[in-house]
Structure formats: structure tokens, C-alpha cells
Symmetry: C2
Subunit: 82 residues, 2 copies
């Protein structure tokens, strides 16, 4: 039951990054995104992933692995499109 | 050590919400924010808070309590300023 709560939390806090990533790809612009905030967020999500692995908690691992991939993609797009 | 990783992750993924909340308050505009994405994110962070309480993990509890407060504030500002 606990992992189910975690997985639902993970789905919700991950899918909401998709529209932003898609809109940057479509508009080829990431001017609304703060590079500092995006770096901090991407690093933080990576640490949550390490935390999940250390605790062997699937919900933390899966949610943060997907969110890290999206956050890193947004960071790369920010560096590329400015 | 594990909780230290979680607390560092929490600090990083929480502070990056501050600039957004402050810029909405200053500009009295939240047009760049998707109401659907913000609702999903706020609900997701609340579930992470429940997950942290269920696992009795301080890092998850503190980080998600603060992030939930910020996300909820941004949601209220979005509903108020549009």
C-alpha cells in the first residue's frame, strides 16, 4: 500500500514536467526557465534517486529516474536554445 | 548518511520553487503556469508527504511539507491572478 502511494505520487510529480519539455522542443526556446533553478532541481532529483536506491524503495527509484531524465533533457535544451 | 542525502535532495528540489513563487507575487501574474500541471504537481507532492510519514523518513517529510506549502501557494496565486 505504501509503495502504491509513492508510485501515484511519482506519476503525478513526473507527468507535469512533460508539457514543459514538449513546449521547449516545439518553441525552440527556454527563456522562461532559470538555469540556476533547473540545475538545482536536476541535482536534487538525482540525489532523491540515490536516496531511493539506498532505501531500496521502487517508487522513489522509478519516479526520480524518470523525472531526472526529463529535468536533464530540459537542462540540455536550456543550454542549447538559451 | 542516507537521511543526509535525502535532506540535501530536499533542499535542492525545494529552493528552486522560491524564485517562481516570488516572481508571481511581484508580477501579480501566473500566466506562464499551467493550472493542470500545477494541480497534478501539488497533489503529487502531498502524496510524497503521506509516503514519507508512512515510512517515517524525516527527509521525505520535511522536504515535501515545504514543497507542498510552496506549490499550494503558487496554485492559490494562479487561481487568484490567473
Amino acid at each position: 500500500m505504501i509503495e502504491l502511494i509513492g508510485i501515484s505520487a511519482g506519476v503525478l510529480t513526473t507527468i507535469c514536467w512533460l508539457p514543459q519539455a514538449l513546449s521547449i522542443i516545439r518553441s525552440k526556446s527556454a527563456k522562461d526557465i532559470s538555469l540556476t533553478a533547473q540545475c538545482a532541481f536536476t541535482a536534487g532529483v538525482f540525489l532523491w534517486l540515490v536516496y531511493g536506491v539506498a532505501l531500496e524503495r521502487p517508487a522513489l527509484i522509478v519516479a526520480n529516474a524518470v523525472t531526472f531524465a526529463l529535468a536533464a533533457a530540459i537542462l540540455i535544451l536550456k543550454l542549447r536554445f538559451g
